[in-house]
Symmetry: C2
């Protein structure tokens, strides 16, 4: 949790010199605030407690962010920015569209697994009907690179005739996200009610494969019509 940003050695350099460093202070506030909001929800988190866990004071939270509401928005903004950053490195250069979409699904899966805190923030923001997100110009402008990647894979799959036409990239993204998100976000109630830990380590591979199978089965076999019973392809 201690900031990794090296001080520009102000006078000495060893010992906790505690020099002034706006950037470090901001970042530290955001770090702690992220934890607290994710752990306790927006209303549950306390500005005083966030301040106390910081090396600075509450005054600084208001100095830099202007209030609890805007602090939460800043937390969201940074969290989303990091996610998008990671997405930008999505490498699904498989020649085969089927392998590509599976790989993308698995990367999404791993990503959700690795960032449960982010998932909590998103859940919290949804409880508040995305009001902070909507208020943030930075966030509404931030387009997801994942959609583009999916689009290209779908196009390639359609071109080769392995994917049925008319599947929308955003919908496929929703489908993949839904599975990944649910597994992490709802693990507590699901675990309590069905006595199954969706995030148990020894089931991770099982669910990752299940997701890939599901998406591929849908894309390669999807037909329409309620009577179903779809033929080969």
């Amino acid at each position: 949790m201690s900031a990794a940003v090296p001080q520009p050695s102000p006078t000495r350099d060893a010992a906790p010199v505690r020099t002034r460093d706006a950037e470090r202070t901001r970042a530290e506030i955001l770090d702690i605030a992220t934890e607290e909001f994710a752990r306790l929800g927006y209303s549950g988190a306390r500005v005083d407690e966030i301040a106390a866990r910081t090396r600075t004071t509450k005054r600084m939270i208001y100095y830099y962010f202007g209030g609890k509401e805007r602090l939460f928005t800043a937390v969201l903004e940074r969290a989303y920015a990091r996610i998008r950053e990671a997405e930008r490195e999505l490498d699904v250069d498989q020649p085969d569209p089927v392998s590509a979409i599976r790989r993308l699904a698995e990367l999404t899966f791993d990503h959700h697994e690795a960032h449960p805190e982010f998932i909590r923030l998103v859940s919290i923001e949804n409880i508040h009907e995305a009001e902070h997100l909507a208020a943030s110009e930075a966030l509404t402008r931030l387009n997801s690179p994942a959609i583009g990647v999916i689009s290209r894979i779908l196009a390639a799959g359609r071109a080769r005739g392995v994917f049925t036409a008319d599947v929308d990239a955003v919908d496929v993204h929703a489908m993949i996200s839904a599975f990944c998100f649910f597994r992490v976000a709802n693990r507590h109630t699901f675990g309590a009610l069905f006595d199954r830990d969706l995030t148990a380590e020894d089931r991770r591979d099982h669910y990752r494969t299940m997701l890939g199978d599901m998406v591929i089965a849908y894309l390669t076999g999807a037909g329409t019509g309620p009577p179903s019973r779809r033929g080969s392809r």
Copy 2:
């Protein structure tokens, strides 16, 4: 919102006589509390506000429920009980397992659509790591009838050879729930980020069909192995 429970006509029967009725008071508190918790989250909801919206006072909340925490637990218990009640009427007596599982998925879909408030409560409870749910003996004992229904459909499908073996009922339930839950719970952030309203009326049928297609494609076509490219079946 006005309680539908008919008074046992105490003296007169017309006019707001305001007689004592423990059951009605309890129910009214739960109704309002459900709304407030769902709208504002656990910490965001205010006991005073809940009381104010009731025809009774805060005193009664403590008299009947013993505190905010236990009030929320009671809210959850009633909400889950109602859901389970509805599930018990699940009627998926289709002769064909494929039609049956599609129908089950669609019923689940409609159910989520019809009870966004319940979804919010579940999201909130997950933020709190299901601590209230875990503390409630009534809730942990309350098994979902849906699992049994799915089990039977899967067994029938396997017997006829239309479903690949080794699919678990709980996992299928998770898969269906994930899609339905995500669509409702995350509609705000998803809508803001991808400019797509997952719950738009004119897309409902599209998503309902998509869910059914997905589940059926998975069950009828699911294979394993990352290389994929699964043959007919």
